[in-house]
Amino acid sequence: MSIQEQYRSRAKELLGEGSVKMVIGYGVGTTATRRRPIFITSPDETDRLVLDASCRTNLAGYLLREGLLADQKSIAVFLLPDGVRALNILAAESQLATAQIVVLGFEIKGEEVKPLEGTAAGDFSAIIAERKEQRKAQPSHEMAVKLEEMTPAERFAFWEKEFSRCIKCYACRAACPMCWCRRCVVDNNQPQWVNTSSHTLGNLEWNLVRAFHLAGRCVECGNCSEACPVNIPLHLLNGRMTDEVLTAFDHYPGADEQQEPVLASFRKDDPETFIL
């Protein structure tokens, strides 16, 4: 049985026995390689589910749809390991209870899709721990390395150019499972900390603030860079933040659902080499 069939029948089972009210997964898209999020509520519809190497979108954000979890019923969701980390953060930040979530975990290696053992968020700690070590050892993104080698002025010019394209559609925010604020700071106009205009200054402010708000929370799922209609390499910013919290505070975002937010906790011996 193909992995897609396995997961379809698992979804059918869950819906059939009534242990979940909905399965959030992937369906066919407009073109052969596009996948779209779908929401299955009946066991008869599980044939619409698709699972292949094109299923990259992190679906965790859909769990926070207003009212979706209010009835205390469970929902099953297809998640890559980074999606499980996102789930952990959402739980750590009290946005949902993992007890309500059945994880249909999978991972993609090259073009191959592999099932992941487990159903609860906590079942994936081994693979997350493994990914933490991989992340530590992982060389930085090629462009990030180039950037670090540049002079500050060159770096500034690079980002100025990138941010100049930003059209402030906020697709990065909308696509991000961690951007769940009831009111985003940019939408607060009393005071207007972040300029809402999409001139480069306003764009720089927005992108810096977003990256900062994701420091220690970004699971690097890639949703934002994928969603950005003007191809700003947002993953570089978020990746840099992850590098920082990993090296400075040994914080791997979403390691488990008890993890304290890195910026709301501290250690007395945190490094402080840059402070005069």
Partner: protein
């Protein structure tokens, strides 16, 4: 001849340590350059990265953020939280090309009037040498000019 460049520096400080340290520099009649403008906050824990960005938007060539030494926070651990935020935000600023000399972080206690005066001296000099923060000023200028089309 144009006027010599005088850097504009904005300092965000906590009232219990660095602000008191700046007062001590005053009562000790120490002298330092008049380029710094102090914004007083109750604690470094209250100093948001937004403040730094707004200072730059107002044309600052440099920003100083300063508070109590670790362990000395009047509010017990506001500065420990601040330190984590600064670590992350500082990394972000550097990664986006804000030169290291433009944003400085320091611990200055109420007893360190001398350190305050000396620090203002040295950062003013450093920024004077670096010159105006042209790259940022350009972005500010663009917001006031008609779109290119």
């Amino acid at each position: 001849m144009s006027e010599p460049f005088e850097p504009k520096i904005v300092a965000f400080v906590c009232t219990y340590c660095t602000y008191a340290g700046a007062d001590l520099a005053g009562t000790s009649r120490l002298k330092y350059p008049p380029n710094v403008r102090i914004v007083r906050l109750p604690c470094t824990g209250r100093i948001s990265p937004m403040f730094i960005l707004k200072a730059f938007q107002k044309g600052a060539d440099g920003v100083l953020v300063s508070g109590c030494h670790p362990g000395d926070c009047h509010f017990d651990h506001g500065n420990y939280h601040a330190r984590r935020r600064w670590t992350a935000f500082n990394a972000l600023l550097q990664f986006t090309g804000v030169p290291e000399e433009r944003v400085k972080f320091s611990w200055i206690s109420a007893a360190e009037g001398i350190k305050f005066a000396e620090l203002i001296d040295s950062i003013t000099e450093e920024i004077r040498t670096a010159g105006p923060f042209e790259q940022y000023h350009k972005l500010i200028a663009e917001t006031g000019s008609a779109a290119s089309v």
